[in-house]
């Protein structure tokens, strides 16, 4: 078994029009910038994929990563909890112009819907959002005297993930708070593609330290020294790097 992939272009080759794609990260931490940019490269070269539904906590910042994916016109719908950032202009303009659909989900509900999708639980009840606009149209039930809102699982065709170490079996570790949604999304996608800072031999990751077991991972590509969204934004970066 060898889940390692030779390059980023190969890693994103299976993503097609109208797919639902989960993208890991919270803000810039844990965001798979290089995988996203490889997907944009394919769109620039071929016009595909487009019409994507993207699941992420946020809606991008600046003009790199997820913001660049939206700016390229590849995203039809975003499912997220907090579509604001230091520089949210790309999403905000498209949203206010009616060019992108938004499904706003409370952050803990978003996490649990993804977890449920990966765990084979089609629906669950949460106290979150009861009595608010975000619970409208959803079934409510009372358990032990308290009202709870039914929420449904969330699954994806593909997940793009950033991890720290990975092996050919797909076992992963994450770096500090870059973990966030990444392990959940690994579970919830039919195909999970991971960029890791370093591919190591099986056994080099202490079994006690594995955060995502390889069963949840289909592809691993090495990206040494990955870019951080905050650093790119501070440098005023844009993707793709087109001449004006």
């Amino acid at each position: 078994m060898d889940k390692t992939l030779p390059d980023l272009a190969t890693a994103v080759a299976g993503i097609r029009d109208d797919m639902t794609v989960m993208i890991g990260g919270f803000g810039g931490s844990g965001a798979p910038i290089e995988l996203i940019h490889a997907l944009i490269d394919r769109f620039v070269a071929t016009g595909h994929p487009r019409g994507l539904t993207v699941v992420n906590n946020n809606a991008g910042n600046g003009h790199v990563g997820l913001a660049a994916l939206i700016e390229a016109g590849m995203v039809a719908k975003l499912i997220c909890s907090f579509p604001r950032s230091a520089d949210p202009v790309v999403f905000t303009e498209r949203y206010l112009a009616g060019k992108i659909e938004l499904e706003l989900v409370p952050q803990g509900t978003l996490a649990e819907r993804i977890r449920a999708g990966g765990a084979g639980i089609p629906a669950f009840y949460t106290p979150t959002s009861y009595g608010t606009d975000l619970a409208k149209g959803k079934p409510v039930e009372v358990f032990e005297g308290r009202a709870y809102v039914q929420e449904r699982w969330l699954k994806a065709d593909c997940a793009l993930i950033k991890a720290h170490l990975g092996d050919r079996l797909g076992n992963l570790t994450y770096r500090m708070a870059a973990r966030n949604f990444n392990p959940l999304m690994c579970m919830a996608a039919a195909t999970t593609i991971v960029q890791v800072s370093r591919i190591v031999a099986p056994g080099e990751i202490d079994p006690e330290a594995v955060i995502t077991p390889g069963i949840f991972v289909q592809g691993v590509v090495e990206v040494p020294d990955p870019a951080q969204e905050e650093d790119l934004n501070r440098a005023g970066a844009r993707y793709p790097l087109v001449a004006a």
């Binding site: 810039g28 844990g30 938004l102 706003l104 409370p106 803990g108 106290p127 905050e230």
Partner: protein, 221 residues
């Protein structure tokens, strides 16, 4: 005269007991961490998967894999723990947090909170607020007593979209400390320079009394 955000944060910090697990909302509530009384150790939780983080690093020393829910850089401390988002919100909804301190647009005497949407215009964003109001054992709000144009923020009923129903138990305002008990605002502390009538006139619901009202006295900060 009114309390600054730092002074409100100081007052809120005095109620955090030793050993408490605490989530501080993005913005002014984050300042509460700076005013922990000596000898008390609170453990701070952030939605993106850290317990027990430290203060902001000096400029230039940021590690962007080590941030809080406001996307600001924080630091490691001995005993810091990382976890994924589902575990993070299990801590929230599962009742494991002792205190959450949030900002507010409006608070009702029923304990309803509105702090995520100012109406249908613009881009809506909710983040973790709707989860936090149903998780922590004590949900407190830190807010100016009135809006920028002088309108009450403490009301009989919220007019803006709700974050949660019947969830707030204490308000640290720029002028007073008010508990919410049985669907009523109960005044606990007020600025000594302010009469009860003056405070009542700035408040959109009846301020009830349940025992003596203490002077709200805070240091210059």
């Amino acid at each position: 005269m009114k309390l600054s955000p730092a002074q409100m944060a100081w007052r809120a910090a005095q109620d955090i007991t030793d050993g408490a697990y605490v989530n501080l909302g993005i913005g002014f509530p984050e300042m509460v961490a700076k005013f922990q009384p000596p000898g008390r150790e609170a453990i701070f939780h952030t939605e993106n998967g850290i317990l027990g983080f430290g203060e902001a690093p000096p400029a230039g020393a940021e590690d962007w894999d080590l941030i809080n829910a406001g996307k600001k850089a924080v630091t490691l401390k001995p005993g810091t723990a990382f976890f994924h988002h589902a575990d993070s919100f299990a801590m929230v909804r599962g009742g494991h947090l002792d205190v959450a301190i949030l900002g507010a647009y409006e608070v009702a005497e029923t304990g309803d909170l509105a702090n995520w949407s100012t109406g249908p215009k613009g881009v809506p964003a909710v983040g973790g607020a709707m989860d936090l109001v149903h998780g922590a054992r004590r949900v407190a709000v830190m807010t100016d007593h009135v809006t920028k144009d002088g309108k009450p923020k403490l009301l009989e009923r919220c007019t803006l979209p709700l974050t949660g129903v019947g969830c707030v138990t204490r308000v640290y305002s720029s002028h007073a400390v008010i508990d919410i008990v049985g669907g009523r605002f109960v005044l606990r502390e007020k600025l000594p320079s302010l009469s009860h009538d003056a405070l009542q006139s700035m408040t959109g619901a009846v301020l009830h009394l349940d025992g003596p009202v203490a002077d709200l006295v805070v240091p210059d900060l």
